[in-house]
């Protein structure tokens, strides 16, 4: 059983329209790398030019914020990762 990565609406264009993608890994970082292997366009959606998670990306594991050490956060089979995007409009 793998981890489920829930994809934000604005990123589904990079995952063939899929809202949730199974991924394997022991950490959030592993799972995101695994996601990017299959959906390479997610790379520029998530990482900045220096290879860091973009400021506007938020990661939640099992509906709880994983900030600030998102990528190192350990996950277990069956866990849910949500990738969301900071909203700035008002």
């Amino acid at each position: 059983m793998s981890v489920t990565v829930n994809i934000h609406k604005t990123h589904r264009q990079f995952t063939a329209g899929l809202e949730a993608v199974p991924a394997d890994g022991e950490t959030v970082g592993d799972c995101l790398s695994n996601l990017i292997e299959r959906y390479p366009q997610m790379k520029t959606a998530l990482w900045d030019a220096k290879g860091r998670l973009k400021n506007q990306i938020e990661i939640y594991v099992n509906m709880e914020s994983a900030y600030p050490d998102e990528l190192g956060k350990r996950v277990n089979p069956g866990d849910q990762i949500h990738i969301t995007v900071m909203l700035a409009g008002g």
């Binding site: 973009k54 938020e58 900071m86």
Partner: protein, 253 residues
């Protein structure tokens, strides 16, 4: 002791005084309350209308912009005849018509890091009805310094979110984010989204001011208007947060 609410006010707020959690005591708290609303646009419009209607005694409304035609799909404080006017002038008329008991202060100041603290001073609640993250962070910091509750709202398209920050008790806006992000610019939005989120912000303010219910402190709600679905994410205080963390661990002054 002289009653705080007049006979007219008792009748005006009769239906909400009937709510057991509010009652006359709660209504009096609302009348004594001072709320700062930063922004008279998509979020500020419904938030200000709801709070003025509910009998908040004093509101300070700040917005440095003028009404434009493309604002009118969502900024319901303003109408066609207001195009080109200061938003706060238009808002003053609308809110004055709605509730003449409201003590409203307005300003066309531009809020930023240099003046957010001065504007926040003397208010119980700060409503984030802004359209950029930099100013939101300035207001977040001002809330932490003054102790006022900070009620965050943001929208994009059919998606919106809200989070309440109780200084010293719950996660602040900076506990979520590592820093600046691209500004929204001409972002897509339809009026129902800020109407929903602005009303939630007003509800949070009312609950905080009257001390009732459960706040969105430490939990962020995300509204997906297209699907009519809500998600709730737990947000923890970050001990190393550069706004609310322990001073020794902050990485900025």
């Amino acid at each position: 002791m002289k009653p705080i609410l007049t006979g007219g006010e008792m009748e005006r707020y009769d239906r909400q005084i009937l709510i057991p959690e509010i009652g006359v005591a709660g209504q009096e708290k609302l009348k004594r309350a001072r709320v700062l609303i930063c922004g008279a646009g998509g979020l500020g419009s419904p938030a200000a209308l709801c709070l003025a209607a509910a009998g908040i005694g004093s509101i300070t409304l700040i917005d440095h912009d003028q009404v434009a035609l493309s604002n009118l799909n969502r900024q319901i404080l303003h109408g066609d005849a207001d195009i080109g006017r200061w938003k706060v002038d238009s808002a003053r008329e609308t809110l004055g018509r709605l509730n003449p008991h409201l003590n409203l202060k307005t300003s066309t100041a531009r809020i930023g890091a240099e003046n957010a603290l001065a504007w926040a001073a003397g208010h119980d609640v700060l409503i984030d009805a802004l359209d950029n993250m930099a100013t939101r962070y300035a207001l977040n910091r001002a809330a932490l310094e003054t102790g006022a509750a900070f009620i965050h709202g943001a929208v994009h398209g059919f998606e919106g979110r809200a989070l309440t920050v109780i200084p010293g008790r719950s996660a602040c806006l900076r506990c979520l984010h590592r820093g600046e992000a691209p500004e929204a610019g001409r972002f897509p939005v339809i009026g129902v989204t800020p109407a929903v989120i602005g009303a939630i912000q007003a509800a949070e303010a009312i609950k905080y001011l009257t001390g009732i219910g459960e706040l969105l402190a430490g939990r962020m709600v995300v509204y997906d208007g297209l699907r009519a679905r809500w998600s709730e994410f737990k947000v923890n205080k970050n001990p190393e947060c550069d706004h609310c963390g322990r001073p020794s661990e902050r990485n900025t002054p």
